[in-house]
Symmetry: C3
Subunit: 331 residues, 3 copies
């Protein structure tokens, strides 16, 4: 059997028995032949709820690190995806989000069709995931019993850090990073930063702005405080935004176009796809005007709004020139 992805996890069920959350400590993507054969011998494609006892042999032989799962007092979720098909169950939705945050898949490479339909809106509380219909009664009960019970979020997506903290990252406020974010090693997300599901900072990066769904921030690029990247879900329309390597999006700036490598947008400037941009060459000479979307994915650009004329301009990035000169100096 072909195994696209597989995981055993611990589901949270609501009072009707519906799965509203699923934690997979060690998801597997494209396993090697031996493990794939063992998975195929034990599990069927799709989602199953199985007594811990039923998977004891498999876990001890194949995934001993997650043996504590066998102590669970309820059925485990086993999800076997033979192929990357549309999401067909809540555990499948959670598995795909895990694949992204475990760095097993990059954003925009997974079939996420149906994910919104299969993720219920859940109250994420200090007593775990709670169905929103059950919330008011639980809040009243906790108050009466003098137990603290905080509602941290009410959302389809939980916080990544409660499922996986990938190696080498710093997260100043974990509330702002959804499960399904891909954070590479060396990435710091500051208090004003935020990373949606199916969005990436490949690392190392300093992220003080918002990485929207579908957006990828390249190596050594920084996203300044409250800087914005337009997502396809949030105003960017059909254009998929990405930001190359060694870019700097200044504080309170934003981009509605994908950028190549070594690009800078000055603090406070928002470049949208339809912004008209004057092109200035290395000698300071104006060479034309284009819509910003025509500059998509180009490298070594510096975007500013001229402080005397208010004109949005694009210059060859002096940082790139400096870098070139430095490189030449070593020739």
């Amino acid at each position: 059997m072909s195994v696209f992805a597989f995981a055993l996890g611990l589901p949270t069920l609501d009072q009707q028995g519906a799965c509203i959350d699923c934690f997979f400590p060690a998801p597997v993507k494209a396993p090697e032949a031996d493990l794939a054969a063992a998975i195929g011998a034990q599990f069927q494609a799709g989602t199953a709820m199985l007594a811990p006892e039923a998977v004891r042999g498999f876990v001890l032989a194949q995934q001993p690190d997650i043996a504590p799962l066998l102590e669970a007092d309820r059925p485990l979720a086993a999800v076997l995806l033979a192929a990357d098909a549309p999401v067909a169950s809540t555990p499948e939705a959670f598995l795909k989000l895990h694949l992204l945050s475990h760095r097993l898949m990059l954003p925009n490479t997974l079939n996420l069709d149906g994910i919104f339909a299969h993720l219920p809106t859940v109250a994420w509380t200090t007593a775990g995931a709670v169905a929103v219909e059950e919330l008011a009664a639980k809040q009243l009960r906790a108050r009466i019993e003098g137990r603290h019970f905080a509602v941290l979020a009410v959302d389809k997506f939980p916080k990544m850090a409660d499922y996986i903290v990938p190696s080498g990252v710093r997260l100043a406020d974990s509330n702002r990073i959804r499960l399904g974010a891909y954070l590479g090693a060396g990435t710091t997300v500051m208090a004003a930063g935020a990373v949606n599901f199916n969005a990436a900072a490949l690392g190392p990066n300093m992220v003080e702005g918002r990485i929207s769904q579908g957006v990828i921030l390249g190596e050594d690029s920084d996203l300044g405080g409250a800087a914005s990247t337009m997502g396809t879900l949030s105003g960017g329309g059909e254009i998929k935004i990405s930001i190359g390597r060694q870019c700097l999006i200044g504080a309170n700036a934003g981009t509605g176009i994908p950028l190549g490598d070594r690009c800078t947008i000055e603090a406070g400037l928002y470049v949208t796809a339809s912004t008209k941009v004057a092109l200035i060459d290395e000698r300071g000479k104006r060479t034309g005007t284009v819509k910003a979307r025509e500059l998509a994915n180009r490298c070594d650009l510096l975007f500013i709004r001229h402080s005397a004329t208010g004109e949005v301009q694009c210059r060859v990035n002096p940082r790139a020139i400096a870098l070139n000169e430095q490189l030449h100096a070593h020739n």
Copy 2:
């Protein structure tokens, strides 16, 4: 007796016996005659602290859903507001905030005079509400005993979601929505969104920016990432901001004037009341210049900063034209 609003709730008292927090699971606004009569027969106008036993008959007959309150180990707060007078006690202040978040009153329709004076600054912790004077000793004690004790906020206003999660909303980070926010069904507040007390998103809305005290966001309008609405407490002066239906305030944009329906402010542009705005008609012809405040509450406006000249312009919103054309096409 006239009953403007009524509620029974569970107060939190500090070590001096002062009320620093009050949770009302089922506040009532303008009750029907039978309930009003029952309230009037049992309670006096104002705030009272009563033994649970004293209200047993009333609760079981009139509000059986909150019967768990009768199990409380301390007095309950009973607040009966005969009229919408200035806030006269801490439980009254909490009741008025509940009325807003329970969608029983719209922002700017409640008398909130005195609310700041009657809301003490409280440490909102993982052990509940704690008087700030008692905090340091409790923190030290918890550390010594190995109990986690986090201070989530220190504020007059607690988080809405710990009191009521209205139906049909999603809240990516509940820390950013104060009790007293009014969130209509279909509203999503993302990680960069924030909603103050006495502020509303009528729903459905996508809220990724800040709704200041006194501001109302209309149906089907979106507030982009980190977008700002000037509040009367925060720079807007006397002008009360509201945003109509089907508006879009772009990411990192802002408004200091109230907007009518179907208005757009492009990403990154902040329109203040005194911004001089060039008016451009449907044929692209300049028809004059006004201060933005003169455009208050007008519909179908598109605000941009021209990318070549830096001029702030107001055009008839092409989305409105497109909508009109679409409507005409169906005639």
Copy 3:
């Protein structure tokens, strides 16, 4: 012995016995002669881990308020800094952060060399500080046992409010204020506000924007929603930013230069050090153009971007003129 600073505290150790967190309930700076002598008689310069019993006499005589520390079930950390030398241990790093948040030292007056090297990246969880290497196993174990276990942050710096809440402040979301922030009395930090370590709001202030490392906000100044101050760690280079008294940085605005007193930057305008600024005198006459860095630390300036020409302009602040006229009226 010279005593620059001293504190007894409760460390958190990881499974290898390394200190990953240290809580000092009552740090001391430049103690008076008697206390300095008592410290010198009992402790040696540097960091020591001591049995509570070993410091019983000292604590009861000198710091009775922290006597609960003597009940600790593990060694206490004693840190004695003879001088303000580079940071040499994790407890020393925590002590210096405490000195700032306890208002015993102002930002930029402490030697913080080495602080990054001595602060391990830690998972700050609802079960306290956890070494990142130990996190995954603890998360799995908590899930199996049905205990809620949330990862609030993964960072070198913890949240200030879990160590000290200085008097007279309000913090809408404590996740956004790091230990090492200096918050003066009368300061309110709203949901979009953030304060880094070695950064200050001297108070009273309304902080709805980001105070970067090294930045000081003066008395009676307001930082608008999502307003940005460039830090030396985040794009500001060598220029140390400070903001004087009675300044207003508008919402979504920002500054890359230090400001004197009574300066205003209008909402949405980002002034960087290299922004060219037209100077306009009190009669509205243009008197020249300078780079913004030449206006560093000047008082009574109003920065705007002209809404018709897009030019960044600096005018004498009309608020300052109004103030002057008012003062003259009372002569």
